[in-house]
């Protein structure tokens, strides 16, 4: 309770200064170097430093050391913050989300995640990402500081980009532009009768046609990419070309065991260099296949119901563990119902993975370093190691557990974030109304 009150005081003082706005103000450019002293640093690679020095300057981490193993010259840092008893984490990474592409799910005017057409690799989330979404500050508030924003719908929904969750505009916020193409695999069976009340999985009569469409598109794009210059450009093929030289990931969205295998086979045969499986509810059944093909998995929301009545009641909770145990590179994905708003619950997906098999530090990797590796931003994010971006936060307690996740300060590329959000503003407004503050 005490720490909460302290946090509130800090927040209130902030809000006194900036009463003119409910929206947090994007952090000003970093001007000083900072040293965090005494916190328990969860490096994000599996190791923990109980009593740590974490120092950063010019947006980069320059120091991550064990205070018990040697002193550090504090005077080299413009600002030293004592975070004794607190937990330091690399910023959590939310992959595959529509955060910033939709404001209110049911209000059509605010939806910007599904473009017309089925093959849209050239459609880019990059320029639609709204840094002013009211949702983003609430997600950030739980330690999620980086998001891969991806469109959905169609066969190829478009190109995703990775953003730091702070900035005046999308250009400001880019961490990695156009990092990958998202391919929604179809299922051999198709759900029918959802609206007649008799939902059944029946044979998808269009599946073969679908497979041929994808194969042909990949082959055409590959052939196009072999030629450097084109008199007449094809925007779709241009967007695909990064898949064949390994500069872009292909994110295959699929849950079912047979289709996963088919999708991977087809993408490999087409010459796609880097493939990521997104979803993977059945992935535990084919871990050898995935390992042999070097396919990392962004596991769908482990807070899900088991796929079959017969399944282990906790199967989705155990899924990250089952895949990690088999030697796969695993990140966690929150996509699904209300995914933008639920982005803030990403840490707790990792908490559940820790409760059901993974060690806490292994679980932490599934929302930090593993995800960074999968997304290809491991040089910038995912761990508290020197040389990486100073994108990190301090929590009062274990950030993977909802009862102790209290983010007290957060930095993106060394810039200190304004952690206010409209929900907190409303909280204070009404606590004040009722005389409870």
């Amino acid at each position: 309770m005490k720490t909460i009150k302290i946090t509130l005081i800090i927040l209130l003082s902030l809000s006194v200064q900036k009463v003119y706005s409910q929206k947090p103000v994007p952090a000003p450019a970093e001007t000083e170097s900072i040293l965090l002293v005494g916190g328990t640093a969860h490096i994000g690679n599996g190791t923990v430093i109980e009593n740590s020095y974490i120092g950063f300057d010019k947006g980069k981490i320059i120091l991550a050391a064990d205070a018990d193993k040697g002193k550090v010259d504090r005077s080299k840092f413009a600002k030293v913050i004592d975070v004794k008893g607190k937990q330091i984490y690399p910023g959590f990474i939310l992959p595959n989300t529509t955060l910033g592409l939709v404001e209110i799910e049911a209000v059509r005017a605010t939806q910007d995640f599904a473009e017309v057409g089925s093959l849209n690799p050239n459609v880019r989330s990059l320029i639609a990402y709204d840094t002013d979404s009211k949702v983003i500050p609430t997600v950030r508030d739980n330690g999620v500081l980086i998001a891969q924003v991806a469109p959905l719908s169609g066969i190829i929904s478009g190109s995703s980009s990775i953003f730091n969750l702070d900035g005046w505009n999308w250009e400001d916020a880019i961490l990695k532009a156009d990092d990958g193409i998202h391919l929604n695999w179809q299922n051999i069976t198709v759900l029918t009768g959802r609206f007649t009340g008799k939902p059944e999985l029946k044979k998808n009569e269009k599946y073969d046609e679908y497979v041929n469409t994808v194969k042909k598109f990949l082959a055409d794009a590959k052939a196009y990419s072999e030629e450097k210059e084109h008199k007449e450009k094809n925007l779709k093929f241009e967007a695909m070309s990064g898949l064949f030289d390994g500069t872009k990931n292909l994110y295959i969205h699929e849950d079912n065991v047979r289709e996963i295998q088919e999708a991977v086979n087809i993408a490999k045969e087409a010459g796609v260099k880097k493939i990521v499986l997104v979803g993977g509810a059945d992935a535990w059944m084919i871990t050898d296949f995935l390992k042999e093909n070097n396919i990392p998995v962004l596991v769908k929301r482990d807070h899900s119901l088991p796929p079959y009545p017969e399944s282990d009641v906790y199967l989705p909770y155990k899924l990250p563990y089952l895949l990690v145990k088999a030697g796969l590179l695993v990140g966690l994905d929150m996509s699904g119902n209300m995914e933008a708003m639920n982005g803030r619950n990403l840490p707790f997906l990792a908490g559940t993975a820790a409760a059901y098999g993974l060690s806490k530090e292994e679980a932490l990797k599934t929302i930090t370093s593993n995800t960074a590796k999968i997304l290809g931003i491991e040089g910038r994010a995912g761990t508290l190691e020197a040389g990486k971006d100073a994108t990190l936060f301090v929590s009062d307690g274990d950030a993977l557990d909802m009862k102790t996740n209290h983010v007290e300060m957060a930095f993106i590329q060394g810039k200190s974030l304004d952690l206010r959000n409209e929900q907190k503003e409303l909280y204070h407004r009404y606590m004040h109304k009722y005389g409870l503050e």
Binding site: T196, P199, P309, M338, A355, K403, Y434
Partner: protein, 1007 residues
């Protein structure tokens, strides 16, 4: 043997059933001859078998049956030595001879249809059509009749299977004569179902709506009958009353609905005959308790094609087990002395009738009961057992002549006599020509052997050692044979006749070159004895019935609670005692018996759980859930559906019950959806996994009803076509409430006035009409029913409190209540509780200002706060959701735990017996590995009423057993496929996960 008649040629002279009132064209052709069938084995009825007996019939009736009966002179005698006579079979569930039900396919999104579209002085609902009179639309269908006669049926009950009240059925014979002659009883039964059939009217859109509609129809019909000066003429209510004295047949599609139908019957003093679906074995004890007679189908499922392991995953354990156990259903009914009839209705392929019946016998049904269920029982259910179904004096001459015991695999039905008229099915004067012959034709001698069935012999022809394919057909004593001998040009085609003693087949034919020749086949030796495969009668091995019939069901129904002593747990009491470290909790007879240190068991068989290092909390209560509901969660077709009851449609077999137990949930309020301002009545249950829906209900729970506000009830997100139902604005929503409460008060006044009349005055006036909807709303006014109201924005929350205050009651609970924080002071003053989501927001416009601090602010302001799920996934992590209140708003952990235990118990008025760990309260507790609000807390055991319903260790073992049981069933199915049996493609039945705004189009599919 040989003087038997060629019945088809004699057909006309059998026409004994003259149509008295019809003019004759030609000369009167009356036939009052006697026909006698002698030396037969006769089943006078299902239990009386006479050897060497005779049957004498005349004018379509049985004159006599038995041994030593005297035959009048004008008797045509058939010697049936070695043959059998049975009463012909009766099927009392069919639509034989009825026009097909029109099927309209409606677009998925359409305008509402609030009123009936059929014109006339009918009742208000298109699905209630008791005026339907099947006899008026009945026509003889010769093809269908023949198909049924071939199976041995002689009469059927036929009806229009359409709608909820389906009107009357006719009982008819399966002859080819005129309708006038075939109808035995024009109105033989009245039929009902829960399916609205071809009705396009919106109401009912759910199973619970259908149930309410039936109940209200009974009440309306009573009122109509009692009304002195009828304010309206109503064909439907008139008809409803007129058909009540008939046998009442209710079609259901599973055992749960059988119990639902029976409950309606109990309420209105009707004992239905229930047309079941063949899954009665799953809860045979409850089925027995209905005291109903049943009509049971024989359409057993085919095995699934499960050779591909991924395909096999699509078939659920319940489906696999049902495949194995369905044929044992009739035996199960017999064993439990439940009277039933069998029906061929529903068989995709009618040819499977006998195959399936024999299978049922193989699975334990006695032949006597099989025969009874196809003769005596169906007749008795219609009250016609003195007319049909047995072969006694004066009864209808409906019988079949067979080659052997009816149930014998090789049995042949020769003839089916319908009202004294014979229908030939298989020729019985067939010469057995099977054997080896020397065939001479055109100077060549072949070896001919004739094999196969007596009626369908096959020829095998050889010359020297060369096999020649040959084609043999036989029609009585005429035979034709064709073959293509490669040594002779062209095809040899022969025709001839059979001479007997010894058998010679001879005649003439044409060789391939066109020459006519004589031919002859002389019998040499008898055919090879038919290879009798030594039928290895494997003893029948069937899996267990499990409770519930679902994955993670157990072999026994939950029994009595065992006494349990939980030792050394950290006990989170949710009482003023707070957390008691290292404490023992003693559960006895389903109650919390003692709490303390160093408690010891007071008898021998107390289960002791070592809970050192574990946390014990009260079981979680979910104030807002939609799991375990059958047939739709919304009856949102009208602004109010107060008459519908979730309690009528609880689904005890929903896997999400077990999953919730695995998350520490022990009880839930199962709520109607939020599609209309006044929804339906709640079902409040404990998660007694394995018990029946009725047993799951908390008997002492008070009545609750769902109300709803905001975007859902004004249909904001339903598309532009749905803009007709009042209300479409928050302004209209208020008026719905004011109107209903006003009318409910007036309704009560009307009844009060009537009830206060002296008896003499009462007799002079008509009683008011009982209205289930207003009655329910009146209960709210009288504080006998409490509101749980789905709500979002502050204006509407405030509005409902003001409406309630105007009508002098209190809104019990606001659920969702995402802007409760804005009006927490008003809620506190009003006395309303708030049951909310921890952190949901942003999914629609009305939740744009929802904040995760909502629970904390309401709590701090003094409102009783609960955290609820509205979702079976989140419903099993409610502890974590409560944990978020620690994060958002700094609620102390012990208080936050109360949000999911004692507080929902308070909101449900169950806190006197649930919601905390206190001596005397129900033994509903959960053992956790960690602090209960932590993400790391896992459930070790969930105990309800002192019974361990979930145990993490056991659950893993059960998962392994499920895998084993599936493997057993899969190999059994593969074996079945290898045997050549038909198999069906696996199709995964997906479950619709209900939440507040789930609308299903056809609730009958969603059971």
């Amino acid at each position: 043997m040989k003087k038997f008649l060629l019945f088809f040629f004699l057909f006309a002279s059998f026409k004994i059933l003259a149509q008295e009132t019809f003019p004759v064209n030609g000369v009167a052709d009356k036939n009052h001859n006697y026909y006698a069938f002698t030396n037969a084995t006769i089943y006078i009825d299902y239990k009386t078998k006479l050897e060497n007996a005779s049957l004498l019939i005349r004018d379509g009736k049985i004159v006599d049956a038995g041994k030593d009966i005297s035959l009048p002179k004008s008797t045509i005698v058939y010697d049936l030595k070695g043959k059998y006579i049975y009463p012909s079979l009766i099927d009392i569930y069919s639509n034989y001879g009825e026009p097909p039900v029109p099927k309209e396919t409606l677009p998925q999104i359409r305008k509402p249809q609030m009123e009936r579209t059929t014109k006339g002085a009918f009742g208000w609902n298109q699905a209630i059509k008791p005026e339907t009179d099947a006899v008026q639309t009945f026509t003889v269908d010769k093809k269908a009749a023949e198909e049924l006669r071939k199976l041995g049926f002689g009469s059927v009950l036929t009806s229009q299977m359409d709608g909820i009240a389906r009107g009357t059925a006719a009982f008819v014979s399966l002859g080819d004569e005129s309708e006038n002659e075939m109808v035995i009883s024009g109105k033989a039964a009245a039929l009902y179902s829960f399916s609205k059939g071809s009705s396009t009217q919106d109401y009912p859109s759910s199973l619970m709506g259908a149930i309410a509609l039936i109940r209200q129809s009974y009440l309306d019909a009573q009122w109509y009958k009692q009304s002195k000066n009828k304010p309206e003429f109503n064909i439907s209510l008139d008809a409803w009353n007129n058909i009540q004295s008939l046998p009442q047949i209710f079609e259901v599609i599973d055992w749960q609905s059988a119990l639902r139908a029976d409950k309606i019957g109990d309420e209105f003093g009707v004992q239905y005959i229930i047309k079941g679906n063949g899954d009665e074995y799953r809860r045979i004890n409850e089925i027995k308790k209905t005291n109903a007679q049943f009509i049971i189908p024989l359409d057993f499922p085919e095995a699934y094609d499960v050779e591909d392991p991924y395909n096999a995953m699509l078939v659920s354990l319940a489906e696999m087990k049902h495949w194995e156990l369905a044929p044992a259903n009739p035996a199960s009914l017999e064993k439990n002395s439940i009277e039933f009839s069998l029906t061929a209705y529903g068989l995709k392929n009618k040819q499977n009738f006998w195959k399936n019946l024999r299978k049922a016998i193989e699975y334990g049904l006695s032949e006597e009961t099989a025969l009874k269920s196809l003769t005596y029982n169906p007749a008795k259910m219609l009250g016609l057992e003195n007319q049909i179904g047995s072969l006694k004096k004066g009864m209808s001459a409906n019988f079949i002549i067979t080659s052997s015991n009816l149930f014998d695999e090789k049995n042949i039905i020769y003839e089916n006599w319908v009202k004294g008229i014979p229908y030939n099915i298989t020729d019985w004067d067939v010469v057995d020509i099977r054997g080896n012959y020397d065939l001479t034709v055109g100077g060549r001698t072949y070896k001919l052997s004739i094999e196969g069935g007596i009626n369908k012999p096959k020829a095998i022809l050889t010359y020297d050692t060369t096999k020649i394919s040959a084609n043999l057909t036989m029609m009585r004593k005429l035979v034709s044979l064709s073959f293509d001998d490669k040594n002779v040009s062209g095809v040899t085609r022969l025709s001839g006749t059979i001479l007997e003693n010894p058998i010679v087949i001879k005649g003439s034919g044409q060789l391939g070159n066109g020459d006519w020749v004589e031919w002859k086949a002389i019998y040499v030796s008898s055919a090879k004895p038919e290879k009798k495969k030594p039928e290895e009668k494997k003893p029948l091995q069937l899996g267990d019935v499990i409770y519930p019939f679902q994955a993670y069901g157990r072999k026994e129904e939950p029994g009595k609670p065992k006494d349990i002593l939980i030792k050394n747990a950290d006990v989170w009491t949710c009482e003023k005692e707070g957390i008691l470290k290292n404490t023992d909790v003693y559960l006895k007879d389903g109650k919390i018996y003692k709490i303390g240190k160093n408690l010891s068991p007071e008898k021998n068989d107390v289960e002791i759980i070592n809970a050192a290092g574990l946390r014990l909390t009260p079981g979680i209560i979910d104030e807002h859930s939609h799991m375990a509901i059958s047939g739709g969660v919304n009856e949102g077709t009208q602004a109010s559906s107060a008459e519908v009851r979730i309690g009528d449609v609880i689904n005890s077999e929903d896997i999400n019950i077990y999953r919730a137990l695995a998350g520490g949930v022990i009880a839930a309020q199962l709520l109607h959806g939020s599609a209309n301002p006044i929804g339906g009545q709640s079902g409040i249950v404990k998660l007694r996994w394995g018990k029946t829906p009725e047993e799951m209900k908390i008997k002492t729970a008070p009545g609750f009803i769902k109300f709803a506000l905001g975007e859902n009830v004004k249909q904001s997100n339903w598309g532009d076509l749905v803009r007709e139902r009042f209300p479409q604005t928050r302004m209209g929503v208020e008026q719905v409430y004011v109107d209903y409460f006003t009318r409910a008060r007036e309704y009560e006044n009307r009844w009060n006035e009537y009830n206060l009349l002296p008896a003499s005055e009462k007799a002079k006036v008509s009683p008011p009409r009982r209205d289930l909807e207003l009655e329910t709303i009146d209960e709210i006014l009288n504080k006998k029913r409490f509101i749980t109201c789905h709500s979002y924005v502050q204006s509407e929350i405030n509005m409902l409190m003001k409406v309630a205050e105007r009508f002098r009651f209190r809104v019990n609970t606001f659920t969702h209540i995402l802007e409760g924080y804005k009006v927490a002071d008003k809620m506190k003053a009003h006395g309303a509780g708030g049951s909310t989501f921890s952190d949901w927001w942003d999914y629609k416009f009305e939740v744009y200002e929802a904040i995760p601090y909502n629970a904390a602010i309401m709590h701090d302001e003094g409102v009783t706060v609960a955290i609820n799920s509205d979702d079976p996934e989140m419903g099993r992590r409610l502890n974590q959701e409560a944990g978020k209140s620690v994060k958002y708003g700094g609620i102390p952990e012990e208080e936050a735990l109360k949000f999911i235990t004692i507080n929902p118990a308070k909101l449900l008025h169950l806190d006197d017996r649930m919601g905390s760990i206190k001596v005397g309260k129900d033994a509903d507790v959960v053992l956790w590995t960690d602090d209960p609000l932590s993400i790391y807390a896992k459930v070790v055991k969930t105990i309800v009423d002192g019974i361990v319903y979930f145990d993490a260790g056991e659950s893993e073992k059960m998962a392994a057993e499920i895998q084993k049981e599936r493997a057993r069933l899969i190999s059994k199915m593969i074996e079945e496929k290898k045997k050549g049996s038909e198999v069906q493609k696996p199709v995964k039945k997906e479950q619709i996960i209900y939440n507040c705004d789930t609308i299903v189009d056809n609730y009958m599919n969603a059971l």
